[in-house]
Symmetry: none
């Protein structure tokens, strides 16, 4: 070797920041800007201007992914192969162990009237009161279903997870998300087997049991007095089987950590073999403690090669049609980006910022619009894109990416790319 | 919910304008511009500047598609799975019903000499005179082929479709497109079975029968007097079986309508379950009544979610090596775009403009060059591309698209994207 010689670097690490549903469509009320453009998120812009941008569709153009599916795709899994319903990831995130024959569900604390019609599918987005309500649901015995064990856990706000353990259950039951003014017991058998019939019965019995326990619970009596909707039922939905993922360490030789509030993402990451870092004050909504999450993520970098920080708030605001809430949540994530950029060097840490998918605030649903991704590292040649937005990313150096591209790109930047050939 | 909240929209509809073979290569005679660039089609440019552009290859880079295959791909089908020859689509477009064992053909009225050598494969692009000639071919009886029924229909200009109905026929016959100075009876058996031999005989007998009827037809005598090539034979080519497509309504929950002159495209759309709107004055050539087609398409939007308007003229001009004809046909499509943009709102209708493939005016054939596509809708973030052309689309926000992307992208814009995951 002669001339200018360069030292081999230590291994670079990855900080991957995911703003759930952060991408959007142009909004008339914002003069045709998207919430990302209107947020004035200049730390995000700084990140983009130091790095390379692109547009991301977890599953390719035209397919709107759920957040679980998008997270699986980002972590390098093929969702079409490994996804077996939402419930399994929720259960894993809630810390419930599953056996192969178990059925898992996401659950909502909700408000029903006496005819089991849903009045509020989130019981007024009930907060920490749900913890106490959940305590009253431990060791639930279902009438006439003695051989089925029920494990219920509250996770966050109005959310919970439930696993049915027992023989003779069937996954062939449609369990749609609860919707206001629909029926709480809208489970539909998808075949005529005894197992499927039994599973529907068990689910109905679960509804009845939670209603009987919750309807006169002191917390609900107090809520009614305050004019708040009582959380008088727990509705299971999103049936899933136990997911089977190869651990990230086996796939990429990489140890990962996850900082997330919502159990769905915690579940995906846990099943991917990542460490789950619980952060007090991470609430999944606009009040989430961004600073605590940033700090936890930075600390996790010490003994993990990749740290995923997930912020749920932009998606929640989008589903509520709340433009200003979405903009505020983006500004909070911008602060998180600032803290992270202030505390690392791009020589040592590759920082990626992305939305897992777009959520249209106008349509109040996930869309298949591409979401911007920007990755900054001293190992990357900046592409001249100077802001982090859907529009700016049209000109990004990555072009269009799908789920299967993200991990390989990150691994390559950090000097761990797969190799093929001599 | 608080702050600025947004209303759910009504379902957006789709107007999809396809200029057949409209894309091209740089042409020396145009100073290196393409016909699209030389046409000064500023309504197309306006559409592009309000929307997002990209480059489209129906089957991916490097494969030149036929218009039938490109249309199938655009409508969301995998041509490699569903395509079984051109004839079946021509027959469907001509309104001939097929059974599974039938064979279908595209037909050309052509001019042959006494040795069955083709002098003009389109009989001087004969026009409506072909209608009368076709009348003389009804209830055609083939000598020695009594068990085979022949259904022949004239479609447009020199074009027709024919279906052979009967037992013991075989699709294993090569039926190449007729070419000047080739033989009319250039059918080639692809195996040695009795069925294949019989099919070749039936086709030869069809040639002879049409020649015998047409050669002294008064219309042809008159054409000869006028110095025009007589349409003295009908040459079947493009053998196809009955195509089997899942209806668009089942695939996407979408009702479609098709406004097209040529039976090939009508056939593809009809078999896709779309309504076929017949427009008087739609001729498939430069004289086609663009205004009538635009009006019919706008009307069809009232009770269909997606309306496909197809204009054949640019492809015809390209195959004739007629640069100025191609430019004129593009200018007519530009007028159509103007009428459409004047009569819809991009809040309610997503307007897509594309070429199904490139046709090189110089090579007089379809090429695999990517064709520009621009889609405008108030739900899309404009990508800064300000003209509709092959060159401008290099910078388009969609990047490179293939057939499988188009319907998912259109459905997503209109709020009907497929969803996978929670």
């Amino acid at each position: 070797m002669h001339g200018l010689s360069i030292q081999l670097s230590v291994d670079m690490k990855v900080m991957l920041i995911i703003g759930d549903g952060m991408a959007d469509r142009p909004i008339k009320e914002l003069g045709g800007l998207t919430p990302l453009e209107a947020a004035g998120a200049w730390n995000m812009d700084r990140l983009a201007s130091m790095g390379v941008s692109g547009l991301f569709n977890a599953l390719g153009p035209g397919v709107a992914p759920g957040s679980d599916v998008a997270c699986l795709a980002i972590l390098g899994y093929d969702p079409y192969k490994v996804y077996a319903g939402r419930g399994g990831f929720e259960a894993a995130g809630a810390g419930i162990n599953m056996d192969d024959e178990d059925l898992a569900f996401r659950c909502n604390f909700a408000t029903v009237n006496e005819d089991m019609i849903i009045i509020d599918e989130r019981a007024g987005r009930i907060g920490e009161e749900a913890v106490k309500l959940a305590e009253s649901l431990q060791n639930l015995q279902l009438r006439g279903c003695g051989d089925v064990e029920v494990v219920f856990r509250h996770t966050l706000g109005h959310k919970g997870a439930m696993v049915l353990k027992g023989c003779g259950l069937s996954p062939n039951v449609a369990t749609p998300p609860p919707k206001a003014y629909g029926r709480a017991d809208s489970f539909k058998p998808l075949d005529r087997t005894t197992e499927t019939r039994k599973t529907v019965e068990v689910l109905r019995e679960f509804l009845t049991a939670t209603y009987n326990i919750l309807k006169d619970h002191p917390i609900n009596r107090a809520r009614i007095v305050k004019g708040l909707p009582p959380a008088n039922i727990v509705i299971p939905w999103g049936l899933g089987l136990k997911p089977k993922l190869s651990p990230m360490l086996d796939m990429f030789g990489t140890r990962g950590a996850c900082v997330a509030a919502v159990s769905l993402i915690k579940g995906v990451c846990k099943l991917a073999g990542m460490s789950i870092i619980d952060v007090p004050g991470a609430t999944g909504d606009l009040n989430t403690n961004i600073f605590a999450k940033a700090e936890a993520a930075l600390k996790a970098l010490e003994n993990h090669e990749i740290v995923l920080v997930h912020v749920e708030a932009p998606d929640e605001a989008s589903h509520d049609g709340d433009i200003h809430g979405k903009i505020k949540s983006i500004q909070k994530i911008d602060s998180m980006v600032r803290i992270i950029l202030e505390n690392i060097s791009l020589d040592d840490v590759c920082v990626a910022l992305m939305a897992d998918h777009a959520t249209s605030t106008r349509l109040r649903m996930h869309t298949a619009d591409p979401a911007p991704i920007s990755i900054a590292s001293s190992e990357l040649i900046p592409d001249g894109v100077s802001s982090y937005s859907e529009r700016a990313a049209y000109r990004g150096g990555f072009g269009r990416l799908t789920g299967k591209d993200v991990m390989p790109i990150l691994l390559n930047i950090t000097g761990k790319s797969a190799r093929f050939g001599a």
